[in-house]
């Protein structure tokens, strides 16, 4: 791999592997300390499997006290710690490093408390996203953020990435739905960020911890906000013979004063792949489809469906229909949520990108992406959280063809640079991890990157928590800028020229 920033940390541990295993075995049962290569292998990567590295040791603590002792021990001996949830991250945020310990929170799977009156649940970090909604639905409540990996991904990982999902235009991201976290600091102390009230005294450290990619502390307990299950949910499927018309319709729906619970777009390739995979009843001859979900009271949903249908027709939709029953509504969404694996069946490998743009630039971005697809001779399918401008282009490639992964990464990098060019960002919800370190130089200047490092140092002065992720080092920066193909894309100015 070209990426070598994560293979070692800046601080050399002051303890060797056998001694550290011995010390960890004093804290944990022996089956909770993994150090043989075959036991370590399952932890060598997260869902960005192109990047792999064996950790020195993996620990699977059972209790908060064990986590604190592990952290304290590693702090004393300058051993890096990489916290890990379900390993579903798509940016390599949980990629191990060779002299580091992977701290798996997989055993922290308990829902500790559900308070229906306060509409909160206290859960351990290893609880799966969907498990929270499953457990609270009997009370008429659910946990709103719903990333596509919600069957598997954990709430701890959701906080690390500030995960979104298809419902965040209306219900917000993880940061909007977490009230309090218990955090173990790098030296093994516990601090509480946020509170059971709607705010807490001092700096909003809770906002800072969301999306911090495990680099500021280890989340060991989470209080989430629960949302009342709406009286009614209904989804409209609209088909277009032109991608740009679909993009235009998205803005028109919002301009009509409607905030859909979800507003998703898929292009032809993604629609066809999803249809082949789950038979959702999508029109496979369309150039693009929109899924527009409306929720609220019964009467409100009826009113908004009529409004949205009219807008979609006025924008040139060739077909507009609502799900005929709840089963079909679920099926429409199943197709969307299965879009990544569905597209994945079209080629030996696929690479999922994650940029956000101001929505008005969608036609331009899609056109440029088509040109790049031809240039690199790699097909790209587009799945798009259209309501909030979050693109997920899926590049199809074959890793066994020499040079094709590198070509794919170059293509992906160009897409991210395009996002910056139009005033967007290189990652909407998957995180920087190790994947997008190079693009961080384009989105941020050196002073801004230095400020990020300073924020990190306020929590982790020695740099032991998930080192090498999310914020590139100055050394890496100067090396990257000397590369011949370093893109001179400038960060966006306030006025864009190709609206």
């Amino acid at each position: 791999m070209t990426n070598n920033q994560t293979n070692t940390s800046q601080n050399k541990p002051t303890i060797d592997k056998p001694s550290l295993v011995g010390e960890l075995n004093k804290i944990l049962p022996t089956d909770s300390v993994l150090f043989d290569e075959e036991d370590l292998r399952p932890y060598e990567c997260d869902a960005l499997s192109a990047y792999r590295h064996l950790p020195m040791i993996v620990v699977l603590p059972n209790t908060l006290d064990e986590v604190q002792q592990i952290m304290h021990l590693c702090y004393q001996h300058k051993v890096p710690i990489i916290a890990r949830g379900a390993g579903t991250g798509l940016s390599g945020g949980a990629t191990p490093i060779g002299d580091g310990v992977v701290l798996s929170l997989a055993k922290f799977m308990s829902i500790l408390n559900i308070d229906p009156e306060a509409r909160t649940a206290i859960v351990q970090p290893g609880v799966r996203n969907l498990a929270i909604s499953d457990a609270t639905r009997p009370y008429g409540l659910y946990y709103a953020p719903d990333p596509s990996s919600q069957i598997a991904c954990t709430i701890g990982g959701n906080i690390a990435e500030n995960s979104g999902g298809v419902h965040c235009l209306k219900y917000g991201l993880t940061v909007h739905n977490v009230m309090k976290v218990k955090l173990v600091t790098v030296d093994g102390e516990i601090v509480t960020l946020g509170s059971s009230a709607l705010d807490s005294a001092g700096y909003d450290l809770l906002a800072l911890i969301n999306g911090s990619e495990g680099m500021l502390g280890v989340v060991v307990e989470v209080t989430v906000k629960l949302t009342p299950v709406p009286e009614r949910e209904q989804v409209i499927l609209a088909a277009f013979d032109d991608v740009e018309k679909a993009g235009y319709a998205v803005g028109k729906v919002i301009a009509a004063g409607i905030i859909p619970a979800g507003l998703e777009m898929m292009d032809k390739l993604a629609v066809q792949a999803a249809e082949d995979f789950v038979h959702a009843g999508y029109p496979t001859d369309a150039e693009a489809i929109l899924l527009c979900e409306l929720d609220g009271t019964n009467a409100e949903v009826s009113e908004q469906i009529l409004m949205a249908q009219n807008v979609l027709r006025e924008c040139g939709a060739i077909e507009v229909r609502t799900a005929k029953d709840e089963a079909e509504r679920q099926l429409f969404w199943k197709g969307r949520k299965a879009a990544f694996p569905a597209v994945g069946r079209l080629a030996p490998d696929y690479y999922c990108m994650d940029g956000t743009i101001p929505r008005k630039h969608l036609p331009y971005i899609l056109r440029r992406m088509g040109e790049l697809s031809q240039h690199y001779n790699l097909p790209v399918a587009n799945v798009f959280h259209a309501g909030d401008g979050n693109l997920h282009p899926l590049i199809l490639y074959n890793a066994n063809k020499p040079g094709e992964l590198e070509k794919t990464e170059a293509f992906g990098g160009k897409i991210l640079e395009l996002c910056i060019e139009v005033g967007g960002t290189i990652t909407g919800e998957h995180g920087v991890g190790i994947e997008k370190l190079n693009q961080m130089y384009i989105q941020f200047n050196e002073q801004e990157l230095q400020q990020f490092h300073a924020v990190k140092a306020a929590f982790d002065p020695v740099g032991l928590l998930n080192p090498g992720k999310a914020v590139p080092t100055p050394k890496r920066c100067s090396e990257y800028k000397q590369l011949p193909n370093y893109n001179q894309t400038k960060r966006h100015q306030t006025k864009q020229t190709h609206a």
């Binding site: 911090s212 004063g257 009271t297 009467a299 008005k360 801004e448 929590f459």
Partner: protein
């Protein structure tokens, strides 16, 4: 004349940094009362003003910190949009910068979200006189640490905000306020019960005698929900919430200490002498009381809340302090943005 004073402000911060001279950031002075006394040379920001970009379809507005809140809300209203967190002004010239720095939200807070929930990006000058941009103008953005939301409620101690980008939302088609005469216990129960239902509740308050519940949404949703909730319709729908937000209701007409208690919404009535006005569906309680600060703060701390001395007492520190471990993180974070401690020293805590 340009309203972009970035260069001038950067020069002023640069010389303050060189000389190690403290600065007190000022907008319109509408919220100078909030926070501990800060003895420092004023740094005037109100001339650095103007809406930089606003595209209703994108649901995003970007404006300079000195822009008047009124200009922003009027501009949004002309397009049928709003700031969902209903910021209090406490002065007609209140600026966007002060609004974000103080992080105060109005009655819609428990239903619509907080100030920081709507912050998408910030351009600021840090304590080393560097102009930095964090976040952006898009809804979802996880590139780098979220330094922009961190500015909300930081009382200007981490940097001088130059520009702020906010998510905005369409104004509801219909608003309706229902009033019922109830005991405090029944009022709190009703708030909890109705807040847990999927109805378009947008505010809930209790003035000691009457429960006020506001519904905002589509006409049909507001009408159907109002029949379920019941109560008398309030004619002066907007002015009640406006007066509550701006502390113009008779309740606030007092020279005694005014406390803002932020506590879990489901907490029963507190055992503290004085009079209480309940807002935020139970989660924010205004208390006018002579009770000692320590007693009030101990009691709310046990509830996992905190108490802010809002007005009328110069002998008490404004904000409740976090525990020692957290305070140390505060101190280091402050140093990371403002190594010489030039921005608003002491206004939030004496340590930072």
């Amino acid at each position: 004349m340009s309203n972009d004073l970035t260069q001038e402000l950067q020069q002023q911060v640069a010389s303050a940094y060189t000389e190690g001279k403290a600065l007190s950031i000022r907008g319109s002075n509408s919220k100078t009362f909030l926070g501990n006394k800060c003895e420092a040379a004023p740094l005037m920001v109100s001339e650095h003003s103007g809406i930089v970009s606003y595209e209703p379809v994108e649901l995003v507005i970007t404006a300079r910190a000195g822009t008047k809140l009124k200009e922003i809300e009027d501009t949004l209203a002309a397009e049928g949009q709003m700031l969902p967190f209903e910021p209090p002004y406490f002065g007609e010239d209140a600026t966007l910068g002060g609004c974000i720095a103080c992080g105060l939200a109005g009655p819609s807070r428990p239903f619509a979200g907080s100030v920081r929930d709507y912050v998408l990006g910030v351009k600021l000058i840090n304590g080393k006189a560097e102009v930095l941009r964090f976040g952006g103008q898009v809804m979802k953005n996880v590139a780098g640490y979220d330094c922009s939301r961190l500015m909300a409620g930081a009382m200007g101690t981490l940097g001088l905000m130059l520009e702020i980008s906010l998510k905005v939302l369409p104004k509801p088609a219909q608003k309706l306020t229902l009033v019922k005469q109830l005991s405090v216990e029944k009022a709190l129960n009703a708030m909890t019960r109705w807040s847990g239902k999927p109805y378009p509740l947008s505010a809930a308050a209790f003035d000691g005698e009457k429960l006020y519940m506001r519904l905002s949404g589509s006409e049909t949703a507001v009408e159907s929900s109002s029949k379920l909730i019941g109560g008398d319709r309030l004619d002066s729908n907007n002015s009640f919430w406006q007066q509550l937000k701006e502390h113009k209701l008779p309740f606030f007409d007092s020279n005694k200490s005014l406390w803002r208690l932020s506590i879990p919404a489901t907490t029963p009535a507190l055992d503290l002498a004085g009079k209480t006005f309940i807002d935020w569906s139970g989660a924010q309680r205004w208390l006018i009381s002579d009770e000692p600060a320590d007693k009030i703060r101990d009691q709310v701390k046990k509830l996992d809340g905190h108490a802010t001395l809002f007005r009328n007492n110069d002998n008490v520190t404004t904000f409740q302090k976090p525990d020692a471990g957290l305070m140390e993180i505060h101190r280091r974070l402050k140093t990371s943005f403002d190594p010489k401690g030039i921005f608003n020293p002491g206004r939030l805590y004496s340590e930072i």
